[in-house]
């Protein structure tokens, strides 16, 4: 993965980001798209559980909790702080 490419797992340091794409075509990636991670969707970082636990992001007026392993499939572009 190119150095410049950021994923949702890096979101804690960015706070607000825009979704570029979701990697992969398997059911996991497809479900992430179905949950609303489509290009140009704005995603906000809310919080992360301690010890590398799941993160909470908000998008499309709802909050979703994801594990870092899934968050790494979502390629984002920082909108602030990056």
């Amino acid at each position: 993965m190119a150095d410049s490419q950021k994923t949702l797992a890096d979101l804690s340091e960015i706070v607000v980001a825009k979704v570029l794409t979701v990697l992969g075509d398997d059911p996991v990636s497809e479900r992430l798209r179905e949950m609303g991670f489509t290009p140009n969707t704005t995603v906000y970082f809310e919080r992360q559980a301690p010890f590398g636990g799941p993160i909470i992001v908000s998008l499309r007026n709802y909050q979703l909790s994801l594990r870092p392993s899934e968050a790494r499939l979502i390629i984002i572009e920082g909108l602030s702080g990056a």
Partner: protein
């Protein structure tokens, strides 16, 4: 499922937390019926209502985010909508969307519209949407989608009457004007365009939710709150349910006395008052406790905290190789393993699901509560520790935690060995905090209680009668030289039940169990609740107690030599045995049904029996030392 002929059939479709169940209850009241879909194990909830002279049947399909199903519940929804499940001729789809997160639901709706089934859109929680500054132009939305749109507030019944009127004419729910989409992204793009046009003012985030989460999801405070949540949970079902339970048990013994005093004496009267009323009654006593337990579970689920608890506990569950959602299943198993195992259908990964099923019977189901309650009351002092918290309460909590930790530990063992493999995605929606609808919770709790009482009325009734017969046959001819009490003791000691209990002594005596306890263990395999009613028969009779006021009293009463019917070590060993006790018949049946093979129920029986025996043996030796 009985349904009037020519009834119009509608299905409720929507994501979890969309307010679908509240709407279903608002439409059908308390008349919902639970059945099964042919060939699958997911419960089918359907209800009837009348609009004018027209009969309408509504099916509440399991909450889904997509037609591309990843869990068994979602599979039911998508297969039902494609006409692959059931013989219902679907007249229309009622698509339920939370108006505060409409932007996520619209693309799913477009997918549904592609099915070419008449569809109506119901936007729920419009009051909350408005309070958060949102303004959606429903008229424009209707024009853009080409289908009727109704806004409702389900828990207040607002808009429900309007919705019912639409049920009369499904042919007017047009679905034209929506193209077929090539990709999910294209579908979202289309939906986003519609959403932009109809959104007059954006919805701000819920301030209340933000404030509460600042505490409840705080790295340190969040875990403290979680610990308090679990403590309150267990204290309330034990300590705080006691008054209602005492009242109940007084009624039961009064009824039993009334029967034995008014009916002509004889075999049938004995069977009725000693076997049936006290057997079933000893179980019905636990109705208030189970009601409290389910009320708490449903309350926390509907309020939005349960999803947060899953988030807080996900790291620990992740260590066990499970995910946060398995926690909800395991917590439900604390009420009863049967609904807990049924709730695993919402877990997408088959391996996680199987691991959860294998360990769910280790969590302390409410049927074990009678056994714990009686033994704790008899052997643990009722000393207050702090305020309403007592040593008895904490002992119970310890037993519950032992069950819970064992479940996590064995899940970790299974996931690292038997069920090794890649884990599937964890994603969990955190709905805004909402004050749960009293009516919805009542309907859900009543539904669970009905199941519990029905079981008490069938399995436990049959079990109580069978055990009474085992205890009273072969019939011992009363000896006129002996007292009534001595005759009764002679009867029990020569019964088939005693033979059975004695034949098991080689297996159970290393754990400190005598033949009387063994009879109870046999009963507990039919249903764990039977342990108590069986032991009540064995002890109430053999210890000479005529009335069944307090079984605990009988157990803790010392005889002339200062010896209690069960020793302290034996009682502790029995408590631990019950933490791991091999599952009951209904759990065997549900595991068989959910895993579709005999392999797993037999596996669970074996590993739990070995575990129970070893743990009890250690406890007994330690308590004796």
């Amino acid at each position: 499922m009985p349904e009037p002929e020519n009834a119009l059939n509608y299905a409720l479709v929507g994501s979890p937390n969309s307010g679908k169940t509240t709407l279903f209850n608002a439409l059908t009241g308390m008349r919902a019926k639970t059945g099964n879909y042919p060939g699958v194990t997911v419960d089918r909830r359907a209800g009837n209502l009348k609009v004018g002279n027209t009969d309408v049947q509504i099916t509440d399909l399991p909450g889904s985010y997509s037609l591309q199903a990843i869990s068994e519940e979602e599979h039911v929804t998508s297969r039902y909508l494609r006409g692959e499940l059931g013989d219902d001729n679907l007249d229309g789809i009622v698509f339920v969307a939370d108006s505060t997160s409409l932007s996520r639901s619209l693309p799913f709706l477009l997918n549904i519209l592609n099915l070419n089934i008449p569809t109506i859109l119901v936007c729920t929680m419009i009051d909350e949407c408005k309070a958060r500054g949102g303004d959606i132009d429903f008229f424009k939305l209707k024009a853009e989608l080409g289908i009727p749109v109704v806004g409702v507030v389900g828990n207040q019944g607002l808009g429900v009457t309007d919705l019912k009127q639409f049920f009369l004419e499904p042919q007017k729910w047009k679905t034209s004007g929506v193209p077929t989409f090539e990709s999910t992204e294209q579908r979202f793009e289309w939906a986003d365009k519609i959403f932009e046009k109809v959104l007059r003012h954006p919805i701000s985030e819920s301030n209340l939710t933000r404030q509460i989460d600042r505490v409840l999801l705080h790295p340190v405070l969040g875990i403290l709150v979680f610990a308090v949540f679990i403590s309150v949970f267990f204290q309330s079902i034990f300590t705080w349910a006691a008054p209602a339970m005492d009242l109940f048990s007084v009624w039961v013994s009064q009824l039993a006395n009334y029967c034995s005093n008014t009916l002509p004496p004889g075999f049938l009267t004995d069977l009725l008052s000693d076997g049936i009323i006290q057997g079933v009654g000893a179980v019905l006593v636990f109705v208030p406790q189970i009601a409290i337990l389910f009320t708490l579970i449903f309350f926390f689920e509907a309020s939005g905290y349960m999803a947060r608890a899953a988030f807080v506990i996900d790291r620990l569950m992740g260590w066990a190789g499970l995910e946060g959602r398995c926690f909800i299943s395991l917590l439900s198993s604390y009420a009863c393993a049967v609904p807990g195992i049924m709730a695993t259908r919402a877990i997408p990964s088959p391996r996680d699901r199987l691991a959860t099923i294998l360990v769910a019977p280790l969590t302390t189901c409410s049927a074990r509560l009678p056994v714990y309650a009686v033994l704790i009351s008899a052997f643990v002092p009722d000393t207050a520790v702090w305020g309403p918290f007592t040593v008895q309460g904490f002992t119970l909590m310890g037993l519950y935690l032992l069950g819970g930790f064992s479940a996590i530990l064995f899940a970790a063992i299974f996931k690292r060995g038997l069920l090794r493999g890649a884990s599937l995605p964890f994603f969990l929606e955190l709905p805004p905090y909402r004050f749960p609808s009293f009516k919805t919770i009542t309907v859900q709790v009543m539904g669970r209680l009905k199941v519990f009482v029905r079981d008490a009325g069938s399995v436990i009734l049959a079990g109580s009668i069978a055990l009474w017969l085992l205890l009273n046959f072969p019939h011992h001819q009363p000896d006129s030289n002996l007292s009534d009490l001595q005759n009764k003791q002679q009867q029990i000691e020569r019964s088939y039940a005693a033979d059975l209990g004695r034949s098991l002594e080689p297996i159970f005596s290393p754990l400190g169990f005598d033949w009387k306890i063994n009879i109870g263990l046999i009963g507990s395999f039919a249903a764990r609740e039977l342990m108590i009613s069986t032991m009540a028969q064995v002890y109430a009779v053999s210890e000479g107690g005529d009335d069944f006021n307090s079984f605990a009293g009988v157990l803790s009463k010392e005889d002339e030599n200062g010896v209690k019917p069960i020793s302290f070590a034996g009682a502790m060993s029995l408590l631990v045995f019950f933490v791991y006790a091999p599952l009951c018949l209904s759990t065997v049946a549900v595991v068989r049904r959910e895993t579709n093979s005999w392999r797993w129920p037999i596996f669970i029986l074996c590993y739990m029996f070995i575990l129970a025996w070893v743990a009890s043996f250690i406890t007994y030796r330690l308590a004796l030392a």
